[in-house]
Assembly symmetry: C2
Homo-oligomer: 342 residues x 2
């Protein structure tokens, strides 16, 4: 049962600890389709503040509380933060997984610090070379997963191939996509396109036991040609932030136009469209490939996003995602994933 | 006067030759704010079709016509196309610049073939190491220029630094931005962020006589923090296509929402917003750094986009952009741009 529990970094995120506490309460409330039992959640953070916060919100329904005396701030450098704050809520949360007290850790705090703490503290799964961050967005009513969104900004071809494999297993096990189509983000569809990294990655992906659909260009990502998009962490991070920024800009333009027409339902239109691009709907990002379930939430997460992040962690654990990844990597490795090309 | 003339590849683009011929006529018509004299334009393509096409559109107002017996198709590989079609309208158009018959070449055709033909045929300007494609979009009512959008997918740091310099000169000379702010697209604002390529490029850009504002992240590109965004050609190309695809998707969502509300002005809202993201407004992309003015139009260009592309070429030539780049590169090189870091 401990392996199904989830450590929540209550101190992480712009609206912590209120949003994180409310999110933990929400995901356990009867209003949810499949509420989590409070016993599955371990709250990590300043003990006094957590108890006081829960008191204000109506009491503790059964969460275990684990004290952490320090907090990694959003602007802290990841390496320095881990060195100087060994008792931070991020470090203690990751420590819960390491010690087998929980199977998952969820944080809306400093992404770099969480990724570094999890990678170093938990290590990679057997056969996995480098962890990658998978982010799932809802587009055209279907989930679309990008991997890697920033864990590995200068990957090798075999890392990208494994991202395709792990992303495919994730989409199948956790997103109900029976045969996920995996594409490689590139500047042209032909195999000969792109950098040497991408040409080699394309060849490696083609040998894996996945539904590899080849290179996909930026403009056709949104045309339902793939369920999983593989990219290096630099491009992935730029793309993710760009979409956020661009979506905000466009929504602003549309709002301006609607107001000029004196529209009284401009707000509805915006909030409905916003929901489609809000990746909080899927609970944030998963760090795939580490020995534990690690959910990287968005710093701006509100109560609902926190609840979704906890649900994602529960889904990951219940589906046995990491067991699936270990099996998938082992099955793929004799044939190709770990071999050099040619 | 020859150096102020513009060769137009009439055969290039999805709607060629009709859209290209109409565009040439439009840019010379009295309806334009500053119409071009027809003598400035040299039409390149199948002579018989060009004459017949002009006849249908009311006659030739004074364009010179240069025959080209072949056409590079959109799906042709650039290298093969140049080898196998030496008399293509792209090759002949670039040849006009090389021979001094015109100062500029404009094509809506195969981008790879145009870039390859221009780079090989015209060579780089004195001091320029690698050409880069600059694309200007209108955001928040101001022009924002990205460079490079695909000419150089594996650049060296000194290439990125020169892109910043050339982009800055372009924005100043052709886009009326007196002191262009130049940013480096990266995954964090700190100088220590990103790949080795970007760390070194950041240091080089900081030494140039330009207004370098440091690293900019994908989500703040749209917040008017820079006028010129420097990036490698791989990321640039992905970003450009992604914005196109995402904009289309979002506009579709908004349209769907508006229709559900029974809005009768949904079309107006969309077309106004579309215009803001349509980089055809600025006439397409410029290949900066080659010895000639080279405008890379969008394959989907209509008559207006073709006219804008011709205007861009004229503005480039009238402003003496390349003379400015040669001077700028020479002034910068003793101090830093061509030196290794440290």
């Amino acid at each position: 049962m401990d392996s199904k529990r989830i450590a929540l970094d209550v101190m992480g995120g712009d609206a912590a600890p209120e949003a994180t506490l409310r999110g933990a309460l929400r995901v356990c409330s009867a209003s949810q389709a499949t509420p989590l039992p409070p016993e599955r959640i371990v709250l990590v953070g300043d003990e006094a503040r957590l108890h006081a916060g829960l008191e204000e919100l109506g009491g503790n329904p059964g969460f275990e509380v684990v004290h952490a005396s320090q907090v990694v701030e959003m602007h802290d450098g990841p390496a320095a933060a881990l060195r100087q704050k060994p008792d931070s809520s991020i470090a203690v949360g990751v420590g819960c997984v390491k010690a087998g007290k929980t199977g998952a850790v969820v944080s809306m705090g400093n992404t770099g610090a969480l990724v570094a703490a999890a990678t170093r503290g938990l290590g990679t799964l057997p056969g996995v070379k480098r962890p990658g961050i998978a982010v799932t967005m809802s587009l055209a009513g279907k989930p679309l997963t990008f991997i890697d969104m920033g864990a590995n900004i200068a990957p090798k071809p075999e890392h990208l191939a494994q991202y395709g494999l792990m992303g495919s297993i994730y989409a199948r096990e956790c997103l109900q996509t029976p045969v996920p189509r995996v594409g490689l983000l590139n500047i042209g569809e032909e195999e000969s396109k792109g950098t040497e990294l991408l040409k080699t990655a394309n060849a490696l992906l083609g040998k894996l036991p996945i539904e590899f659909v080849g290179n996909v260009e930026g403009n056709i990502i949104f045309q339902d040609r793939a369920d999983v998009i593989v990219t290096d962490g630099f491009t992935g991070n730029v793309v993710l932030k760009l979409l956020e920024g661009f979506a905000g800009l466009m929504l602003g333009w549309v709002l301006g136009e609607l107001k000029q027409h004196g529209s009284e339902y401009a707000g509805d239109v915006l909030s409905n469209v916003k929901q489609k691009i809000d990746y909080a709907e899927y609970g944030g990002a998963l760090l795939l490939g580490v020995d534990g379930a690690v959910v990287v939430g968005h710093g701006r997460s509100d109560e609902i996003a926190v609840a979704n992040a906890l649900s994602l962690a529960a889904r990951d654990l219940d589906a046995g995602l990491n067991e699936g990844i270990v099996k998938g990597v082992a099955a793929a490795s004799p044939s190709s994933a770990t071999d050099p090309v040619g």
